[in-house]
Symmetry: C2
Subunit: 240 residues, 2 copies
């Protein structure tokens, strides 16, 4: 465990959904409260899981070039309309659907995130490297108090992770080599993709991201530079 | 003078060089200290003014399409090499020139900026809308403690101000209409360009930006939404 700040790294680049914010708890709460306000009944946890379930297939069509670059807010909105139909929820106004779609702008961080980031920010540039679009990430940060130095990632590189340009373009915007960036994520495949390009890697375990019966990404499955259970432990390991 | 926060605006978008930071004083100080370290003599104020003088012509070649998109760090570096030759300064190593070029990453804010931004940040999204590249603006903010919510502008829109896409693309990244953004700048032409696209406008007088004998942009020459002498006065006017 290094006692001094790991000086190879100038910037920490973060996955956001799952790593920084507990999207599932927040989205289920948003859906439940939406249901109460509009007198709608549904299995909101199943709705949230289905919404997230449509996330990768929607991005895949953009990654493939099957469709032009489309920001995540728009992909979320299309998935939401599909699910409202599937769950037989009808008669909502466009602005009500818009508000619900922006539930993804109102996600709460895990409890270790703010104290950890506050320490890490003293030693490193903290940047998002997320598939979320800029407005989503800015609004989320503003509401939750996330002290980012820069909001970067998919929208600015016009490429969704895990494609290389999402990572390489983010490092380039920061004026850094990939080897000067430490990718922080709760997902093995995100870190493997970053690592192949020269990024350092920090796995943060989020074993309840997908709910109580999570099976994927419960722990680190590869050799990463750091493997921790919280952002505060990462700050300890990095000497921040 | 409105007593409550001006709720038309969700975001304040800021010009940076001259408006947020006193580039001339900082660059002259950097050049002077560089000269002392390397036993070089020159009129460093004239050098700084010449360096800034090459800024618009360099961007014009990009705006015209005479050359491909090039970030400001690279334009600054080319101008610096031209000036070193012109001032008969020879024999510097590439890394010494790089360090000097990054003087633009180490500019100090005007004294009203941090207290003003701290108040404004509570009510509005604060984003750069600068011709500076992302790394320059991130490093500057990190060193000076500028609490941006987002680093946006020319590099991300691949367009230098005063071309429309620099403004429109920045509003689009924020998920906002131009009318929901208030452009804050010390330069009349920047505000006029933003205003034509629907942005609100706030002129902040910086009458010594170009040194003691400044003649341009000494005061507001058009009707703007706000005309102030400091960021703290802007916070007063906006009820923040």
């Amino acid at each position: 465990m290094p006692a001094m700040s790991d000086s190879r790294f100038k910037a920490l680049t973060f996955d956001v959904f799952g790593t920084v914010v507990d999207w599932r708890t927040s989205v289920v709460a948003e859906l439940t409260s939406f249901g109460e306000r509009h007198a709608l009944e549904a299995d909101w946890a199943a709705f949230a899981d289905s919404w997230r379930g449509l996330y990768q297939p929607a991005m895949t069509r953009v990654r493939n070039g099957e469709r032009d670059w489309t920001i995540l807010d728009d992909l979320h909105r299309e998935s939401l309309e599909t699910l409202l139909e599937q769950f037989n929820i009808v008669g909502l106004l466009a602005e009500q659907i818009d508000h619900l779609n922006r539930a993804w702008h109102r996600l709460d961080p895990w409890s270790d995130v703010l104290p950890g980031m506050t320490r890490l920010k003293r030693e490193f540039i903290l940047a998002t490297l997320s598939n979320g679009n800029v407005a989503l990430l800015v609004n989320m940060a503003k509401r939750a108090g996330l002290p980012w130095d820069a909001i970067l990632g998919a929208e600015l590189t016009r490429t969704y992770k895990r494609l290389p340009e999402a990572y390489l373009g983010t490092a380039r915007f920061l004026g850094l080599e990939p080897t000067q960036c430490l990718m922080v994520a709760a997902h093995n495949d995100d870190l493997v993709a970053a690592s192949k390009l020269g990024f350092g890697t920090a796995f943060v375990a989020r074993p309840t991201e997908y709910g109580p019966s999570q099976t994927q990404d419960v722990k680190a499955q590869h050799k990463f530079n750091y493997v921790v259970d919280s952002f505060e432990e990462l700050a300890d390991m990095l000497g921040a």
